[in-house]
Amino acid sequence: MDEKPPLFTRLFALRSLFLWGNVILFVVFGAVMVSDQIRGWKGYQKDFKARELTRTKDAIASAQTDDDKMRAADEYQAAQRIPMEIRQIVAPDFDAVDRCVTCHLGFDPLGNPSLSTEYKEHPFKATPNTAAQSIHLAHNVEKFGCTVCHGGQGTATEVKAAHGEVLHWEQPLFKGTLLQASCAKCHDNLADLKVNGAVYASEIIRGKKLVREHGCIGCHQIAGEGGPISVDLRDETSIKPLSRIDFAYTGLEHEDWTLANWIKVHFTKDPAQLVPGDPRGEFNTEPIAPSAMPPYILPEADADALTAYILSLNRSKILPQYLRPAPAAPEVASSNPVENGRQVYEKFGCAACHGPDARGGIRNYNYQWGGTPNLRRSVPTFTREEIREKINDGVAFVARNDPHGPNPPLYMPAWKAKIKGQELENLITYLQSLRD
């Protein structure tokens, strides 16, 4: 148990450890202080101030009348007083603290009440005489903040974090058409909201029309109303947390894993690939069929409109004084029985399974006869009573192709609670009028 003399020969090493330890500690802490001072928003604010100084100085030089000169001089003085600080809008009605205006100085309601600038690039861009400016002026920015409409992470002061394009932030910025989805949070009267004569939320309205055309509510529900085959688009899809979504088969990059993209990809890719289920029962006690949603593979614009519409169904908590209801559009039932029957066909989303033209052929996994029935061929083979019975009671038993495979996901639900009386009769008349 001999010991190296720990004292004198080591003392020198101890001393340099002492010196270098203290010095390195100071230097590392200095690095912390420096990195704390270096903030992206400071650069943007410096840039903005410099531009404003130049602009107002030029305005003084080019002013014609004395009044104009005085006004320009005032603006120049105001530009000199622009402080370097984090700016925030506290919007307690929306439980928001939005610091967007720290960089987007054109929209700072105190610093720039006109909410417009001449600059062409973000973050200073705030083009006047646009739909955007009208909407901003109509929604008092000091009361609304920014994120209630635009999404993003208001409390952040760094670009990517503030735009919500980081992990663990569920709502990134609404880009492009998607922004219209926010209007529906308060406004039911979207068709009345016009800017310069044109309806602003036109894509939402178009999305709603597409939903009706394709008959989405034949399988899906919206706020409880619709078919039983799949999820409720408002109560489940529009508020789905990211941790519940399996992005494995979407082909999206990790940074694009957003709810909006998840919805959109249902329209641009084959849903049976996105949600492949477990047809051979490898991971579950029973085999599960892949998604029954048909591969619509829509053009980009239609997919965006539908995505925006579905996101617009989100009913996050808005205080009653901000809601703008619209009277329900009355349903105009046609007097012609065949035409009325077609309206009923559309209203209950029969097109989802039977096709917009009732020719069927929508795939039904592991169904003995392949796809859904062609009504134009099958309806003439039944009497009116038989057709009524089928619609009322549905067809629950759907024969399997492979008895060990999963249950076919599509089946005819029972509509007797929803389609009745004259509507039912007119529907049957319409179906009987179809010929191949």
Binding site: R15, S16, F18, L19, N22, V23, L25, F26, F29, G30, V32, M33, D36, A78, E85, I86, Q88, V90, V97, R99, P109, L110, P113, S114, E142
Partner: protein, 164 residues
Amino acid sequence: MGDTAQPVQPEVTRRSFLFWGWGALLAFLASATGATLRFFLPNVLYEPSQKFRAGKVTSYPLGVTIDKTNRVWIIRNEVGLYAMWARCTHLGCTPNWFPAESRFRCPCHGSNYTAAGDVIAGPAPKPLWRCMVTQTPQGDLVVDKAIMENRPGAREKAPFFIAV
């Protein structure tokens, strides 16, 4: 040691070694203290902003309008409009406006002020403070409590007074 003819390499003495070591430590402690003190100064406030918009200039009636949220009075007379901080210059209570007597009276120690802010009774040592007021091109009133003036003469001029 050694003969004086040869130049001696300057050695780092034990003394200067320790000096730099302790010096670095003191520098670290000083900067850590400084940084912690800076930590305690908030960069954003969850209070009503010192600078705020207060509606349209032309919408104010003659007389005194009380803005409780921002603790200012907006006062309009025949000549124009100004904003006064509703804080008694004695010890900081909020005086009340008595239109029948055309004066502000502070409930705490009885200071009285005219509508212009001058002290006409009580222990208040100075006139009421007026805040900077500006007008946006659209005609909105912007009040800034960070910049104030209470000297007669200066307070009746821009930017503490808007001619309407």
